[in-house]
Symmetry: C2
Amino acid sequence: MREVVVLGVGMTPFQRNTKHTFATMGREAIFKAIEDAQVNPGKVEAGYCGTVFGGSMSGQKIFKETGLTGMPVINVENACSSGSTAFREAWLAVASGLHDMVIVVGAEKLSDLGKGPLPLQMEDVEASQGMVMPALYAMRAKRYQVDNGATDEDLALVAVKNRKNGSLNPYAQFRKEVTVDEVVSSRMVANPLTLYQSCPTGDGASAVIICDSKTAKKYTTKPIKLLATTLSSGKFMNGFRDMTSPEITLRCSKKAYEASGCEPKDIDVAEVHDAFTIAEILYYEALGFCEKGEGVQFLREGKTSLDGSIPVNPSGGLISRGHPLGATGLAQITEVVWQLRGEAGNRQIKGANIGLTHCTGGGIWGFDHGACSISILGR
Amino acid sequence: MREVVVLGVGMTPFQRNTKHTFATMGREAIFKAIEDAQVNPGKVEAGYCGTVFGGSMSGQKIFKETGLTGMPVINVENACSSGSTAFREAWLAVASGLHDMVIVVGAEKLSDLGKGPLPLQMEDVEASQGMVMPALYAMRAKRYQVDNGATDEDLALVAVKNRKNGSLNPYAQFRKEVTVDEVVSSRMVANPLTLYQSCPTGDGASAVIICDSKTAKKYTTKPIKLLATTLSSGKFMNGFRDMTSPEITLRCSKKAYEASGCEPKDIDVAEVHDAFTIAEILYYEALGFCEKGEGVQFLREGKTSLDGSIPVNPSGGLISRGHPLGATGLAQITEVVWQLRGEAGNRQIKGANIGLTHCTGGGIWGFDHGACSISILGR
């Protein structure tokens, strides 16, 4: 396999009720990525698109008015991991030598679905009995609180941190800081998780251009290298499980660390899937940033703040930057690329050399997620 | 790139209003493919799923109760080419060396969408103004009739041939032969295309297991080799175009012939995308089986019948076997594998050595299709 590098990134601001369409958002992200990469669009050999609700031929709808036509277009779905799974397929297309330069776009316009929760699938037995995402994460939170002495105020610290980071990110859906009191006293969603502890629905798009490292030499002297990108699905097994151990993330990150030659201590910045506050704490542990059960103390000590030893979600994460499903995975890549290049403005982490992105989602069987994808990038 | 071979295939009967669910159909196809391949399911390293209307996490919903869990699962959409695009991604995963053995499943339960045409997308300007698939193909048919002297009865010959083939296929949705008179006098859909000249909606699933040729040696002495698999999207260009020349198929087949080292004359059997009768005639020409404008004469002479020089759609094609979108591309692969192995029963083509599959679909801009995928297989 060839070494693959990220040449260009771009994204729209994430927001509710955008006036743009699914396709025009995608195009905005693509044009920004092309400008960032400083490549002739004619050099792009294939296009991947990640989306959940973008409908049939989602990528073609976006690409058809960009001039990026005629090339192979592959549309990929994997719930919250749709964009990052599209990125994995694009990596494979370049790493294998099939294509030299590929573009990946992720887009979602959740506003089109109206207010309220995302549509559920009737054949999903768990969801139809109430085990929807907020409920599942609430159960995890309660268990974690009992096991590790975390308070409601502790959980709120994730939202406070990520809202603060988001306030520094012009692309974030929420740019206003919040206090622990405001988080805890906001509307209850699923005890102990309040509204401000839950990621919002929203609209947005992001795009990434990748190529092999030889081709990259024509365009940049400072490529961001893709050290590993891995994908796993849940094991969907019956029986007792430790609901505070996200097995799929543990397994997927083990593969990513092995493939990249990195260890958790090497990571300088991480974008992780904070769909709810408790999720981020569980992922500190599952990704090996701290020991199991110590995530809450790690958070309290500020280790994952912008000036901490391993800043997590400098973009604001899902909770503050927002979570337009198909766009999220590529927005994470975009943020890490900006951080590694030193282009992250007021939220820049000094001297970041290696970054990790982590996307997981799709509850198919209780606490097992349908997909988890992790990438490790280095400069 | 490594040589990739097909180790096992399987499919459900295609039918309307099946009692099975999307997931159980997918599993039936998977279990048949595993049995056919005679592999330990634990050797399968990744799973791809092609579907249009299967919903989020379509592959995970199918795989979760087959024991094929924990592996990377990638869900792929490309309208009528969804299954064949998933197959292309699976080919890349094996050809690149990333995985040794991969399963691809395609499934669709169109009955769930109720009666009537498939749901249209409001942002599709062409469709919203009436340029739906039957209308587009009817315009092509009229143009073709004027240019090449084809009669309504000529067009009907495609349906007569494919229904006859389907009558020999236990997996076909329609297993009753029809006459030219019956085809021409069936309900008009879009002049000159009648009901019997249009592929039906239906339910079904199909699955294919592929691996590298070295791994295949452990399981079979008669592997079916994948000589090429190519994918293209439309060029979506304004201006005049020859509506009887399917540009995307011309371009995609040129790539496939080049990659495989084959020429049209080498093809012994082909499964092509006969969404409507006229389509099959246009594809004879676009795939190089005959010259442009000569497709109708080629058909009249029986060249594409089971005992002709290049039998087309021995399975019955979309018109008779049926067209559950995501399942179609892999059903085509399945039929060609059966034909090359000599396992096609009463519809067996003697001495078939090389076969071609062709899937195209997704009208995005008038006469341009969104995707076209072609595979060439050999024994």
